[in-house]
């Protein structure tokens, strides 16, 4: 690219590194050696056009370059371009406000009201390439607050009410307050769903998603039974062992958020992932139930591939599927027309642990250089 330097200079002039509020009306293009569209599809020497914070065009450079406006800035990236990573859930930005422990039932609380977009955990997330995530509570309430889909840039809340978090086991059940038992929690939820008021009614009406925090096998079993009995479809979170229940999950049309595998994860964890993939159960990796940082998502995806998962499913577990499960599936997680311009530029294949993150764009604005 002989003109690359000139164009890059021009592009750099337009894109000040710290400009958090890019004049979004100004369209620009990015070319890259490889564009990871959505898991399976890689465009070599591809080009995307971003305008108004959205992706407006995706294609091969050869096809699209010619049709661009001559003044349009084009950023040439040597390396890979992909959608910004999406954590299916996380509690970044909540600090200590993860759980409200006064009562077991706090279903009308909105987690977004505790969200601090400048918190170090949010900054750390975007420096790892995570551009959006499902903000969620912990699991200290039988019915916790309602989660949102947020960006890691500022306090941008994309979807305010995405899901209601439920938990039928400890720490939501505790001896100090009602309910103290699994059976009491199940009964309490059954009654509330039957009454159908507030958030519970919204869930039953399909206006609000529902996520059930689980852990041990019997908790997964209990959650599946509960959903089938109450005729709910939702997501199990923290369900690392979900693969053992893959067929039942598929039948009940439930989805799964689990911890990303880490180095040294037991074999059953990656076996579980493979079983889910085989049964066609949608799953994604989340951050809310583990101590791992945002960097674990990408590493987890590559470890899953190493353990036999196909690349496409692994990639989607940290992008498009994650976005869908987090309640932002129409907005983020994919390089496709109409989607938010949440982009990550990498030095190489993002599924390789050797790859470095080079820069992150959210809604078309350059937010950070990578670590």
């Amino acid at each position: 690219m002989r003109n690359t330097l000139l164009i890059m200079a021009g592009a750099l002039a337009c894109l000040a590194p710290s400009a958090s509020a890019q004049t979004e009306a100004e369209p620009y293009a990015i070319t890259a050696d490889n564009i990871l569209v959505d898991g399976g599809e890689v465009l070599q020497d591809g080009l995307i056009v971003i305008a108004g914070g959205k992706i407006v065009q995706v294609g091969l450079e050869a096809d699209l370059k010619a049709g661009l406006h001559k003044d349009m800035p084009v950023l040439d990236h040597e390396g890979w371009l992909s959608a910004g990573l999406v954590a299916a859930n996380g509690s970044m930005g909540l600090g200590s406000g993860v759980d409200d422990s006064t009562s077991a039932f706090t279903e009308s609380l909105l987690v977004a009201e505790s969200f601090n977009g400048d918190h170090s955990s949010v900054v750390a997330a975007r420096k790892a390439g995570v551009t959006s995530f499902g903000l969620t509570t912990g699991r200290s309430n039988v019915a916790g607050g309602q989660g949102s889909f947020v960006k890691t840039d500022g306090a941008k809340v994309v979807n305010l009410r995405t899901h209601l978090t439920l938990c039928m086991g400890p720490p939501a059940i505790q001896s100090r307050r009602y309910p103290t038992s699994y059976s009491g929690a199940v009964n309490a939820l059954e009654k509330r769903f039957a009454a159908g008021e507030g958030a519970f009614g919204a869930v039953t009406a399909g206006k609000l998603g529902v996520t059930i925090a689980v852990g041990a096998r019997h908790e997964i079993d209990r959650a599946i039974r509960f959903c089938q009995k109450a005729e709910l479809t939702g997501t199990l979170r923290g369900a690392n062992r979900a693969g053992e229940f893959a067929d039942r999950l598929a039948e009940a049309k439930l989805t799964v958020i689990m911890d990303a595998p880490v180095i040294g994860s037991p074999k059953w964890h990656t076996d579980s992932i493979n079983s889910l993939a085989k049964a066609g159960v949608p799953f994604a990796f989340g951050l809310a139930d583990s101590n791992a940082g945002a960097g674990s998502l990408r590493l987890g995806a590559s470890l899953a591939v190493r353990a036999g998962l196909d690349r496409a499913t692994a990639w989607r577990a940290i992008t498009s599927t994650a976005a869908t499960l987090a309640g932002g599936g129409k907005r983020a997680g994919r390089i496709a027309e109409g989607f938010d311009a949440d982009i990550a530029l990498w030095s190489g294949d993002p599924l390789s642990p050797m790859t470095r993150l080079e820069s992150v764009y959210i809604d078309g604005a350059l937010i950070t250089e990578g670590n």
Partner: protein, 425 residues
């Protein structure tokens, strides 16, 4: 035809000691006409399942009163297809053991998620289900199964006056409630003695949590019991007096559902009997009733049934230090009181349910009565005796295979059959 053969082929593939032996006379099958749209076959009579397992033994103890000297049991599907006397000689190809008994039933296994299995925020919660708080993945179930216990009653822990509904569940098979549950909401669970009141504190100053409530004493527990049943009587006749779970309490009053309460010490058993008599509860059982031997006449007159706790070396048992004499089972049996034994979840060589039967025999109980107390009697007390508890055609194929005379210290459980599947040692 093909289906039978393919079933046979899959059965052969299972790595267990099985003998495939087809029924001696295959019943005539209605001619099948296959439509172009292949749908399920409509036969005029249901096709009998093929026999997939045959076990022969020198002695088959059916728990129905008979002992078959030398016979075979044929299993088809999950049930017993045939019980045939007349020896199959042991050198024939097939599974042969010294003795077979029905799978054991323990009504008080006490394998639960501890505090999380009982709702302590309120003391009368008949509407809660113990199966919502069960962990079927607990390895202790498998150990119980290997020791011969095939069915158990899943109950809440005894911390509530009325703790909720129980279910009869198998100890093996797919670890889902669907595949294991024999009878849902089989009985209602309750508690006398110290357990329902311990941990509750009288209010001094401001109550800080829900433990500042009654009952704090045995009389408080009894009061809660009586109030619950009194309110039920009211609910049964007044529309505006109904409360959550009244219908479940009412079913107990009507005798439609057994009421099984924990009562170990003499005074607690007495209190339970008084409650039974006051409200004319038709079907009631005291669990962990260690001191049932002290006033057996009272028990016999009341029609109360008994579940005994495990025998102990020094006599004192775990619940409220109740003293269990070793001849208690015999005493109850002589008076016609229905009783079952329990191992409280132990599968160890000295603690398991089969050994409890041995200890009862040591205390003077007859072999037949000991066998009944771990098979058909607990089945009856829980209301599942149509499916389990004895060896009979049509009942679930739950069997315990022995290396010698059952319950002897020198005999061992060499295999267990559950729902027709063989679980080897």
């Amino acid at each position: 035809m093909n289906t039978i053969l393919s079933l046979g082929a899959t059965a052969l593939a299972t790595p267990m000691l099985c003998v495939i032996s087809f029924a001696s006379e295959r019943p005539p099958v209605a001619p099948v006409i296959w439509d172009t749209e292949v749908e399920t076959v409509e036969a005029s009579a249901p096709k009998p399942e093929p026999v997939k397992l045959v076990i022969s033994a020198d002695a088959i103890y059916t728990a129905d009163g008979d002992m078959i000297k030398g016979g075979t049991i044929a299993i088809a599907g999950t049930t017993i297809a045939a019980v045939t006397p007349g020896g199959v000689s042991s050198d024939e190809d097939g599974l042969h053991v010294a003795a077979i008994t029905p799978g054991f039933i323990d009504l008080s296994p006490r394998i639960n998620l501890a505090d999380f299995s009982v709702e302590e925020s309120s003391e009368v919660v008949p509407y809660l289900r113990a199966t919502d708080a069960v962990d079927l993945y607990d390895p202790r179930w498998t150990r119980l199964l290997r020791s011969g216990t095939t069915s158990v009653l899943i109950s809440p822990a005894a911390e509530d006056v009325v703790g909720g509904m129980t279910s009869v569940v198998k100890t093996g098979g797919d670890p889902t409630l669907e595949s294991r549950e024999v009878l849902a909401n089989a009985t209602l669970a309750g508690s006398f003695g110290s357990h329902a009141s311990r941990g509750n504190s009288p209010v001094r100053g401001r109550p800080t949590n829900h433990f500042a409530r009654r009952p704090t004493t045995r009389m408080g527990t009894e009061w809660s019991h009586r109030k619950a049943f009194y309110d039920t009587l009211a609910a049964m006749s007044h529309e505006d007096r109904k409360f959550e779970g009244w219908d479940i309490m009412a079913s107990v009053l009507k005798g439609e559902r057994p009421y099984i309460v924990q009562a170990s010490a003499t005074q607690d058993i007495r209190t339970a009997i008084y409650l039974k008599e006051e409200f004319s509860i038709p079907n009631m059982t005291v669990d962990a009733a260690a001191e049932a031997w002290r006033e057996p006449g009272l028990l016999a007159r009341s029609g109360m049934s008994v579940i005994l706790p495990p025998f102990s070396a020094q006599g004192r048992t775990a619940i409220d230090n109740g003293f269990l004499s070793w001849n208690c089972a015999k005493t109850l049996g002589d008076l016609g009181v229905a009783f079952a034994l329990s191992s409280h979840g132990s599968a160890s060589p000295s603690g398991r349910l089969a050994m409890q039967a041995g200890y009862a025999i040591r205390g003077g109980l007859s072999f037949e009565d000991a066998l009944a107390s771990v098979t058909i009697t607990p089945a009856r007390l829980a209301g599942v005796d149509s499916r389990v508890g004895s060896i009979a055609v049509g009942k679930d194929a739950d069997l315990v295979l022995w290396s010698g005379k059952p319950f002897a210290a020198t005999s061992r459980v060499v295999g267990v059959v559950l729902n027709g599947e063989l679980v080897t040692q």
